[in-house]
């Protein structure tokens, strides 16, 4: 309380009474928490932001999403329209990424491919998410015999070679975007269901769930309010990692000739089309789709890794 500017040594006799006054009690402030409390999600976001690589990934994905939506619209060329006089042109001011053997603009097709890749990836992840949550949540919460039977089913399905099943379905159902998504989710939900179940199994024995039960909460409330929110971390990580898997699978299938049919573009189709012409030096045909598939997978992978660290409560400080 001393005023630093007037500090001087005073003898005890000269100490005056008016120098003293009772300290003002700060009404109600003493117990308050100075730092605002961090919710789980705020804390996770704070930690994710520190992970530079994950943020670069996120930024790229936002950019990609923007270009996937607006890229084909902004471009003066159409995705499918052929322009034979301008075939196999190297990248120039008119065609930023060059043109293919039918004179189609690679720039437009690349962003159209982004649309398809993102759509397939996100849809596959969402459907996996819903099936996985219902199946895994039910199995884990019920426990006992139900759980044992449901898990045996999962173990058998887990043994199926996924890409073969997908190829088989594609052959029978005919190549289309819907088929790809269906085929990917037929086997894809299993991983998600396992994760959800493992989490639910662990959390349902915690005290706060018992407390909730003792207050007479209904099963639906316990699952919805207590269990699921606490399992979201690993689920989101799993979803982020499902997307690159689905994007790869779509490209893989398109590359085998089972994906989106020409003249529409997907990254896999474009890479496949570029295969016969790489010897003739048309590098842009291969480079752009290959570059963007790799970058997208990279972005999702680093973001998934970052989320994994950020959402892990054990690493919370």
């Amino acid at each position: 309380m001393t005023n630093s500017t007037t500090t001087k040594i005073v003898s005890p006799q000269n100490v005056k009474d008016e120098w003293f006054r009772p300290k003002q009690k700060e009404q109600g402030r003493a117990e308050s928490v100075v730092r605002p409390s961090l919710s789980y999600w705020k804390d996770a976001w704070r930690r994710l932001r520190k992970n530079k690589l994950a943020m670069v990934g996120l930024a790229f994905l936002i950019f990609l999403l923007f270009m996937a939506i607006f890229g084909p619209i902004l471009s003066p060329y159409s995705v499918t329209a052929t322009d034979y006089p301008n075939q196999n042109k190297a990248p120039s001011l008119a065609h930023w990424f060059g043109t293919d053997e039918a004179g189609r603009d690679v720039f437009t097709r690349t962003w159209y491919g982004a649309r398809i890749s993102l759509f397939v990836g996100v849809m596959a992840a969402l459907i996996d998410f819903f099936i996985g949550i219902v199946y895994g949540g039910f199995s884990g919460y019920k426990g006992g015999r139900t759980d044992a039977i449901m898990m045996r089913i999962i173990e058998v399905l887990y043994g199926l070679p996924h890409l073969l099943v997908v190829i088989l379905l594609m052959v029978v159902m005919g190549p289309s975007l819907t088929t790809i998504i269906v085929a990917l989710t037929v086997t894809g939900w299993v991983g998600m269901a396992r994760i959800v179940r493992g989490q639910v199994l662990q959390i349902k024995n915690y005290e706060f769930v018992t407390a909730s039960k003792s207050f007479g909460a209904k099963t639906s409330r316990i699952i919805g309010k207590n269990l699921l929110p606490n399992t979201m971390g690993p689920i989101i990580v799993q979803m982020t990692l499902t997307v690159p898997g689905a994007i790869f699978a779509e490209a893989f299938l398109s590359f085998l000739g089972l994906g989106v049919a020409a003249p529409f573009a997907s990254w896999g189709v474009m890479t496949n089309d570029a295969l016969p012409v790489i010897l003739s030096g048309h590098w842009w045909r291969l480079f752009f789709p290959a570059f963007f598939i790799s970058l997208t997978m990279f972005a999702f992978n680093v973001l998934g890794d970052g989320l994994q660290d950020a959402l892990d409560p054990k690493l919370r400080r």
């Binding site: 044992a148 199926l160 000739g257 291969l286």
Partner: protein, 311 residues
């Protein structure tokens, strides 16, 4: 242990049965018969063909014949190339794919484990960062993209290695490299993280205190336990690699299973598609079974683990 093996064995049979049934059901939901082209328009020939392929029998009988063909390992003739049986195609293509797959998994294991171990030993050092950067890149670049880039750069531009086919060890380098990079990256990351964990354990400190050489500590004590997670993913990874060969074979013009499989897809040659799918799946499921058994032997905790019912 015996109980565990038996349980796994029945699980394997169930999985194969599901694949077989799925394949059968899918085969019969395809509209039209395989003999719908003009070449066989004569109704008598058509009927004879259907009799030959037992397509005139009721569905459940056909299903039994089908199961028999799987058990006896006889998938019948190809429809588009009637003088060749599916078995012959498998016998010709599979050994090559198998070779490519095995070389790949060996390369991936050796380089992945080495890379991961060194990264963990030099945690946060230059080797660690380099290895992990490589790992993220390796996971991100699809194998068919890598394969095309390798052909373009190393085979065509630099002319260091032959761009295609499978005729000498020199020819094997590029396809193996393309196929092995992804698995190598995954194994390296896995080895690194489990190695980092193992290295903090008390028994490692103990080994150090005893004055064992660092090499011996890492190889004999740490690596053994650090490799457990790698063994766990071997099965699914093998499946990924062996299906991955399809695309790699196509790019490098290697006459393996992938070539016949893609050909049969394009020709819609159903017996070949179905036969090779069932065969391939059965093989993969069997490998998964073997990996599980090996894992059971390596980790005595596994039985306890399974009994509790959580994975």
């Amino acid at each position: 242990m015996a109980k565990y093996i038996i349980k796994r064995f029945f699980m394997m049979i169930a999985t194969i049965l599901i694949i077989a049934t799925l394949t059968f059901a899918l085969m019969h939901t395809i509209p039209g018969s395989p003999f719908d082209d003009e070449r066989t328009s004569n109704p008598t020939i058509q009927a004879n063909l259907e009799k030959f392929y037992k397509l005139d029998e009721p569905m459940h009988i056909q299903y039994l014949y089908y199961l028999k063909s799987i058990v006896t390992f006889d998938f019948g003739p190809s429809i588009k190339k009637p003088n060749e049986s599916v078995n012959e195609l498998l016998a010709r293509g599979f050994p090559i794919s198998f070779e490519l797959g095995m070389v790949t998994i060996l390369v991936a294991l050796l380089s992945g484990v080495t890379l991961g171990t060194f990264a963990a030993l030099r945690h946060n050092g230059i080797i660690d960062y380099t290895a992990m950067t490589f790992a993220v890149v390796g996971i991100s670049v699809p194998n068919f993209v890598l394969a095309t880039l390798l052909i373009q750069q190393i085979a065509v531009n630099l002319e260091w290695l032959p761009p295609a086919t499978w005729s000498s060890p020199l020819h094997m380098i590029l396809p193996t490299l393309a196929l092995a990079t992804g698995p190598t990256a995954i194994i390296a990351r896995l080895t690194r993280s489990s190695m980092l964990e193992v290295l903090t354990q008390d028994y490692i400190k103990m080994a150090r205190a005893k004055g064992l050489s660092p090499v011996r500590i890492v190889v004999r004590h740490a690596l053994r336990n650090a490799l457990m997670p790698v063994v766990t993913i071997m099965g699914t990874m093998l499946a990924g690699i062996l299906t991955g060969t399809f695309v790699i074979e196509r790019i490098f013009a290697i006459p393996g299973m992938g070539k016949y499989f893609v050909e049969s897809i394009n020709n819609r040659d159903y017996p070949v598609i179905m036969g090779s799918t069932v065969f391939y799946s059965a093989f993969l499921v069997f490998m998964l079974f073997l990996v599980d058994i090996v894992y059971g032997f390596l980790d005595p905790r596994i039985k306890l683990h399974r009994k509790e019912g959580d994975a």
